[in-house]
Symmetry: C2
Subunit: 420 residues, 2 copies
């Protein structure tokens, strides 16, 4: 305890962690938020950075800026590496951080399912750096392809963009790339755009598994109309940076594979003194406490936690609403423990439905009412816009999206990683 | 010649190069613009990226976007390395580019005056990458300084920010850093801001040499009021990344030295078959042709060219108006040569005056009328805003500046180079 106040430590500044810190900020406690970054990342819009629609600063918000007026909330910028539950400390690359109550909200990372080659050569889509890498790489490939000394095969390989994974990220990324290509077409006067192709690969028979079947089929049709080759029931087995190999034996020459096919909990979860599921998520009780927590003071929420109770067939999905709803319950439960109460609340998930955008003026919304097309896109825009941090960002992003809708320009098409 | 059209090659997509390409775009010629980047950089606002005011995409504009409707203008993204005047080719890291007429508009780079240690450890301020490095580093130093295990000396060293060079870039950078610190002050609840200092070092007795003396003195006073320690008549002799050594023997412990003390032409200029001045700029004739050009078809303009004629005491300064005014004359002269005319126009520089901003709502303007304070700042804003490429950027930057003026927030304070 510092000044006799309970020390609340939160690992992770994602949707769950920020929500928690905001709730605890009003209480008579000290809050330390540990994150390897100094910003909160609005992950649902990463694909827009990777395709030159938005700038990094529009989806990344300084964590400390949320807590400017909360002197009891502090950021400890460090990479959390594990928890010593017996000693009540979080282990980080900047030393140990002591807690009275700990919430693990450390999130997820890309799951390459053990395929080391794919991990080495494909682009992940979970961090800001990865999104910027994709942007730099995709834009650069156009410049490289136009060079006069390229062979036709080399040119075609560089102009083949493959996205793996038919969830919202994959669908959004594939749609956004086709739109980026339409803009490049106007500006690369010497490049033959018949060489350009975009492929979306999905292992199961369906895109967007969380939506009803008619919306899944609608999504396939819209993507095909935009020029995406949708390959369902297709599994990737290898990628060496030049050739993508499918389970069927088919080989696709390509220099760009974007991997949006799976997530797993971040590595540290295996070192937190709990029991983890196959995808690395730590098992939690109905009150969100980590199963078997030594001192009954460690909780976990969101993408890094596996919650499955009653008649549930699988753990809750790794989506933001799970994390933010769980944050509220953890907050209440820790406040109860601080007050000496023991009747902890059980978490019940309220599914708010699912939506995905397929491109400019096109989206699918599953609930509360099914929508497609421009109206669905407006709904998607609105929902994401109001959740972005900061009025100023709301404003500039709204201007950019409107501008993009009307003029189809993308100003972010700059390559920033040229070695000088 | 391609399709019988004269091949105009321009090296460099700065103010001069872009202006030239726009002029030639309307003619019956083929234009190839060579640049190592795919974007035009608005260098006067680099300091705003380095201090988290603006985003990279707001001062970098894709070169191809300027020439969307000009099929005769193409970008060749490559690093130009020299010119073989006898064979009429530009040498690049992506092969040779043949020309009928060549304009060198390759710009300048940082001049460390042979001090290798300084070059290795200080930050330059000429490229977008350098500005982002400064931003990442400065913001990160606050996070590092707040870590509980720091010694007081270590903390103070990290909180000492030194800018070297009293020209507009140095003055603007030092002013902008003090404002950044004011914002950090509100968000680092555990850091002692008495440890924080900003120093501006200038070798001569004056800041902003191109302005009248009363404005120079005004600038010193404004900077001091903002908390900048202005050190005139002060020369740097060494910097090892930890300690900056002055000629006087004084040592300043600091982890941040931003070098804005001099420029020189880019390295390739020494390999263009011309004669270069001490700062590497290639000497040009009054008609802007490179002195001694073998085939009378190679010109040079802007920061990479040294123009001195008649009763001039020193070559023209390395500022944008010189480059853009020279672009117009080179364009006319090459069109004359294409038509077989030989009476080339002589270049006469029209000095448009100088201005510099010292911070939020503070600037100095030297001519046509002397101004200081808010009015001067509005003039500075206006002049820079209208020169930014693209209406959309004008709009978002105007919003950002207004927001910044009113609320003093800086949203770009994110560290994007964390190793994952």
């Amino acid at each position: 305890m510092s000044n006799g106040k309970p020390e609340i430590v939160i690992v992770g500044g994602g949707f769950g962690g920020i929500k928690l810190a905001k709730l605890f900020a009003k209480e008579n406690v000290e809050v330390t938020l540990i994150d390897r970054h100094n910003f909160h990342l609005f992950q649902p819009l990463l694909y827009q950075v990777s395709t030159s629609v938005l700038e990094t600063g529009e989806i990344a918000y300084p964590i400390r800026a949320f807590f400017r007026d909360c002197p009891n909330v502090n950021l400890f910028m460090a990479k959390a590496q594990g928890v010593d539950q017996k000693r009540n400390v979080v282990l980080t690359n900047h030393g140990e951080v002591k807690y009275d109550y700990l919430i693990l909200a450390a999130g997820a990372t890309t799951n390459f399912f053990g395929m080391k080659n794919v991990e080495e050569h494909a682009f992940g889509m979970k961090t800001l750096q990865e999104a910027v890498h994709i942007r730099n790489h995709v834009i650069h490939e156009f410049e490289r392809a136009e060079k006069p000394y390229r062979t036709p095969e080399d040119r075609k390989k560089r102009m083949t963009f493959v996205v793996v994974g038919g969830g919202p990220t994959g669908v959004e990324e594939a749609g956004a790339i086709t739109e980026l290509i339409e803009i490049q077409k106007k500006e690369f006067h010497k490049l033959d755009f018949n060489d350009v192709s975009v492929k979306l690969i999905e292992a199961t028979p369906h895109l967007l598994p969380m939506l009803p079947e008619d919306l899944q089929e609608h999504t396939v049709r819209v993507l095909q109309k935009k020029g995406v080759e949708v390959m369902l029931n297709t599994q990737v087995v290898d990628y060496d940076g030049d050739v993508l190999t499918l389970k069927s034996g088919v080989k696709i020459p390509t220099t760009t594979v974007i991997w949006a096919a799976g997530v797993r909990a971040v590595d540290m979860m295996s070192n937190c003194g709990g029991e983890c599921a196959r995808d690395g998520r730590i098992w939690i009780e109905e009150n969100l406490m980590v199963r078997g927590a030594v001192n009954k003071n460690v909780f976990a929420i969101g993408d890094c936690a596996a919650f499955m109770h009653g008649d549930m067939k699988r753990p809750l999905p790794t989506v933001a609403p799970v994390a933010t709803q769980q944050a509220k319950v953890v907050y209440k439960n820790i406040m109860k423990l601080i007050k000496g109460e023991t009747d902890l609340e059980k978490f019940v998930y309220k599914d708010l439905g699912a939506m995905a955008t397929i491109g400019r003026a096109e989206a699918v919304v599953g609930s509360p009412t099914k929508m497609t097309g421009f109206l669905a896109w407006c709904a998607w825009m609105f929902v994401h816009l109001i959740r972005l941090a900061g009025i100023h960002t709301n404003l500039t992003v709204a201007i950019k999206w409107t501008w993009n809708l009307l003029s189809g320009t993308r100003l972010g098409r700059i390559i920033t990683n040229i070695k000088l």
